[in-house]
Symmetry: C2
Subunit: 421 residues, 2 copies
């Protein structure tokens, strides 16, 4: 075994936050304290963009209370970015910053694009001769990372949305008279995992429960079939609850609703599918009331209904990333592996970052129902364990309280670097 590197940790967060992304951060901080080869524990603010600007804080200086509170605090406590490193010069700058601060262990908590960034940092670091172990920690509500059984963040968004759908069902059951269509637009980009996950809201042996229709981006939208299904549901139910993925596409693969704005990775800004479907129903079915809701970013930040299983697994991913790096692993991502016994168990393994980077795992076809608007019951075995347990949220004066990092800045060591947009 090669000699253990002695030096500092740098951990950063990237992409859209989740309800448990800070739990992974807490896992890194907590585990890093256990290893003598680790001296300082630094946090990079605002992802890779902040690191280029040497926006680095001393995480070991944060109080234990704060680190503990991170486990129930949504959003990215370190700040994140959607910045894409464009030039070799940008990557070189990141390595220079790491070298200047004696970073030997680099952890990047993020989704597809972020794992790609981590992969390149690992490569450039090696090429530049800076010895540094780079480990990716998975995070995304979309659950679209390959290889890992599921992603930290997914269980919580499903638990929150399914709870919300149960509440909406109670509301609609009392309001509808076979004439109410309620559309809930959910996140997930090009993968239907989130939309599909909401089917856990159905009680066992109550197939009439909501959601009645689930629209996935994996299935090209067919307006006629959708409207027929709505009519069929309303024959037997007082209301029809539709869960629609924000990334729905038509038969040509074009988004049903997308703005013309692209983010820095070239992805379309999604949103508006709910309004689209609401109009479709109103314009085509007479005497039907249609409502839509777009819960938006609140769904990925919903600490008030986070899954304890998810939060604990997110923490474990942070811990295991540190253990792996200290053991000399490099260029890997921590992945979750489900035990094959009936009773759910979950462990971690390491996968090559290059196998994860930029690959999107869509919702499996064999779990999609024959009508293409429902989810097979077998999926329940997959999803149910992920939403078990409730994260206890401390309330003060009637409202939940969250961690606020003190953010003690580490002194800069390099010249200012101009980031080109």
């Amino acid at each position: 075994m090669e000699e253990q590197l002695i030096g500092n940790v740098l951990v950063a967060q990237s992409g859209g936050p989740t309800a448990v992304i800070n739990s992974s951060l807490a896992g890194v901080i907590t585990e890093a304290l256990n290893h003598e080869c680790i001296e300082d524990i630094f946090g990079g603010l605002n992802g890779i963009a902040g690191i280029m600007g040497e926006q680095i804080i001393d995480l070991a200086a944060e109080s234990q209370q704060t680190v503990r509170a991170l486990r129930h605090t949504p959003g990215a406590a370190l700040g994140t970015c959607r910045f894409k490193l464009k030039k070799d010069q940008d990557y070189a700058r990141v390595i220079e910053v790491c070298a200047a601060h004696n970073i030997r262990y680099f952890f990047y908590i993020g989704g597809n694009d972020s794992q790609d960034t981590a992969h390149k940092i690992s490569e450039v670091s090696e090429k530049m001769g800076h010895q540094m172990k780079v480990i990716g920690i998975p995070k995304t509500v979309d659950n679209d990372l390959p290889i890992t059984d599921h992603c930290p963040g997914y269980g919580s968004v499903v638990k929150y949305l399914a709870s919300t759908i149960r509440e909406l069902s109670a509301d609609h059951e009392g309001m509808g008279n076979h004439d109410l269509v309620s559309i809930v637009e959910v996140m997930g980009r090009n993968a239907g995992w989130i939309a599909a996950g909401t089917v856990v809201a159905k009680r066992r042996n109550h197939s009439e429960d909501a959601p009645h229709i689930v629209l996935l981006p994996e299935v090209p939208f067919n307006a006629q079939a959708f409207l027929e299904k709505v009519k069929e549901v309303l024959k037997n139910n007082k209301y029809c609850l539709v869960v629609a993925s924000e990334g729905l596409v038509d038969e040509n693969g074009n988004y049903l609703a997308a703005s013309e704005t692209l983010d820095s990775f070239g992805h379309s800004q999604l949103g508006g599918v709910g309004d689209y479907l609401q109009s479709l129903v109103t314009n085509n079915l007479s005497d039907i009331k249609a409502r839509s809701s777009k819960i938006g970013h609140a769904q990925r930040a919903a600490a008030n209904c986070a899954s304890l299983t998810d939060s604990n697994e997110a923490f474990m991913c942070g811990q295991e990333a540190v253990k792996a790096a200290v053991n000399g692993e490099n260029g890997k991502m921590v992945a979750l592996v489900r035990g094959d016994t009936d009773k759910y168990s979950c462990q971690t393994t390491l996968v090559d970052l290059k196998d994860v980077a930029n690959v999107v795992k869509t919702f499996p076809a064999n779990w999609i129902g024959e009508d293409k608007m429902s989810i097979n019951y077998q999926f329940n075995r997959y999803i149910l364990p992920l939403i078990q347990g409730e994260v206890e949220l401390p309330f003060e004066n009637g409202l939940p309280t969250f961690a606020h990092l003190a953010k003690n800045m580490v002194d800069s060591k390099l010249e200012h670097y101009e980031i080109s947009k």
Copy 2:
């Protein structure tokens, strides 16, 4: 004192549900069991429309578990309606149904329109010589009923939305770079109580906390002033969180966003203000990302973040309605009265239904900030007590469970009645 009437109770729910409307129902059922003059406890399904159709269930036959679970179950367990009694014949039918089932105590849980209905039922009953005590029980997330200090349902929607805004703040704080505008569209119709209530999300002595801009229907919308304010907020903050009431109006009093559909009371269907503001920002401010969310009916059904104070007060209103009726009161609504000591206390009183019916209490001008887009700190004294305490929600297999009434139907005694639309 007149002789106590001996007979049955009929309780029904009306209008849009809340997270605690069933807590009032549980209060009625629980209290009714205490009085010997009360024989059967009946529930009318689907409000006044269902009562005309003799859709009556035996509430005393429900299990104690179910009645207890009503205290945390959102939505109207009995079903509700937005039906407006149009003809004298309709009112006469309601009284005939009541007479046929020996209803001597009639309780109607609802908002403005429903209290008007209760008032007329009380009058017609007297005119027709059917002795029956009619008591209204207040309910509305909008908090727009007059005389009562506040309405059951309001505290819970505020607690939920303010919690959501804290979570969104944690999300946006990590995402924004002085370039993010997040618009949250909330309910409230023509009164700004809900939008205003969200300011409790600000931590004490943290005036920089979200929400940064609050738009009330009481203040005609001024696009120029709004955009200037957004720019000002973004100078000092990483993001600007805007809470917008669904019922915003322009300088001529026209809704900024309303569909052409009217409900049966002639009210416009509201919704879409968030999208409107999002476009306004995107089209007028360069390099600014705007997002909007419309939480929709989930906000009024959010049992997962309901206020214990609110739930308990809703229960108390149900209990007090029964006590009042048994004491011979008629044509009244239970109202909440706040104690005048520093420590919050709340009791009930009775007010004449005719003084409540169809009156809308808008948000007081003296609590609106000078810039017309903020709320004065004095309002905190009003709102904070209403969101205290958390309703404990039972979870089963990862999701909250709610009461489902067995709904044992009471035999019909009259001929079928055709309800004209």
